[in-house]
Symmetry: C2
Subunit: 219 residues, 2 copies
């Protein structure tokens, strides 16, 4: 598949803008586990995902993580080019959660086209609003939802993404996603197991009563 088929506003760009973009991109691959962007330490450019999965998270001084959102096929990753906009005043880390193939778009090329093109600027606005919405959802979860509901939601979301109820997840990994400690997650999962909602083995969590988890996650 061609870049032009993936880039959403392609048809709204001028021929000169299309050429400039096409000449500047490079196809890249990031094996699972690669940190593709690390806060203010780099400004690698925008990433248009061909296939794979990226995870965006924040990191505390003590190394605790909270997952903000995930990006999938055809998503455009803006914040790996956060130097593009002076008002983006936060640092996040972007990690390949699966083997990921993407096109790298240089920050300066994207920025200069966006400054000329109202369609591209408005599209960028919509992407920003989508990510903003995901982060607002997260705040609501953190503020109003108890942890049992958040763990239930997380497991159901993982199952939907992976297409299986047998999840390869350590307690540490779940804790990192939710910004809490391993011990807290272990206690919660043991409770879920006692309630016959999940079955635990070393390194896996198997959902055995999806309906009960669905029920639990409701507010």
């Amino acid at each position: 598949m061609e870049f032009s088929a993936y880039f959403p506003m392609w048809d709204k760009l001028t021929a000169a803008q299309q050429k400039r973009l096409a000449d500047s991109i490079t196809p890249q691959t990031a094996p699972k586990g690669t940190i593709v962007h690390n806060g203010s330490l780099d400004c690698v450019g925008l990433l248009l995902i061909q296939s794979g999965q990226l995870r965006s998270y924040i990191l505390s001084d003590e190394g605790r993580e909270v997952t903000l959102y995930r990006l999938f096929d055809r998503d455009l990753c803006l914040f790996s080019a956060s130097c593009m906009m002076p008002s983006i005043q936060f640092d996040l880390v972007i990690e390949a959660e699966k083997d990921t193939g993407y096109w790298l778009i240089p920050t300066d090329v994207y920025k200069s086209i966006m400054e000329q093109s109202a369609p591209l600027a408005n599209y960028t606005n919509e992407i920003m609003a989508s990510r903003f919405s995901e982060v607002m959802w997260l705040i609501e979860q953190i503020m109003w939802k108890s942890l049992d509901k958040r763990v239930a939601s997380f497991l159901l979301e993982e199952a939907a993404i992976e297409g299986t109820n047998l999840l390869k997840l350590t307690h540490e990994t779940i804790a990192n996603h939710l910004g809490t400690h391993r011990e807290v997650i272990s206690r919660m999962l043991k409770y879920f197991q006692n309630e016959r909602m999940v079955r635990l083995t070393r390194g896996t969590v198997e959902i055995i009563a999806e309906d009960k988890l669905q029920e639990l996650q409701k507010v």
Copy 2:
């Protein structure tokens, strides 16, 4: 002062766009305490603040609040026109925290100019990125900072905004800003008083040792 002196991208608009904007705006006032926007219940338009102070917050089902950010003179309030962008998928409430004068810009007028004007679209992007940054800062506070530090930061911020160390604040109000319960705040303030950082009277909190609060709020 004229609207054109307040509207940031005025000089980058065409004469036709300027005229369309100028013909559509209406000056409004909101006395302190007015709810100027209430989640998905309305889409009143964009507010360009001439003078005053707006507070943006989210509300849980049980009525608990968390302050997201404040807007001051010359700020443009986007989210009172959240229907402008389909990707804005969250509800927030905007309240006049002081008597506020503003120009109301109709959503459809702003939107149609933004769709044509790259400068206005890019400016809107920067505003969105600023608000996003404030919300990211809040997430970091909630996730990584203990409540004593958050209360200290809140009191110092209030003192800076009001220009006085004698703050007219009830414990209920502070709890609403920080998304917690009145009892929790009362306990914390009593601790602050014992540590000789504040002096409490009915309806006021006086900061008597700013340096100690400054020290406390550091991570």
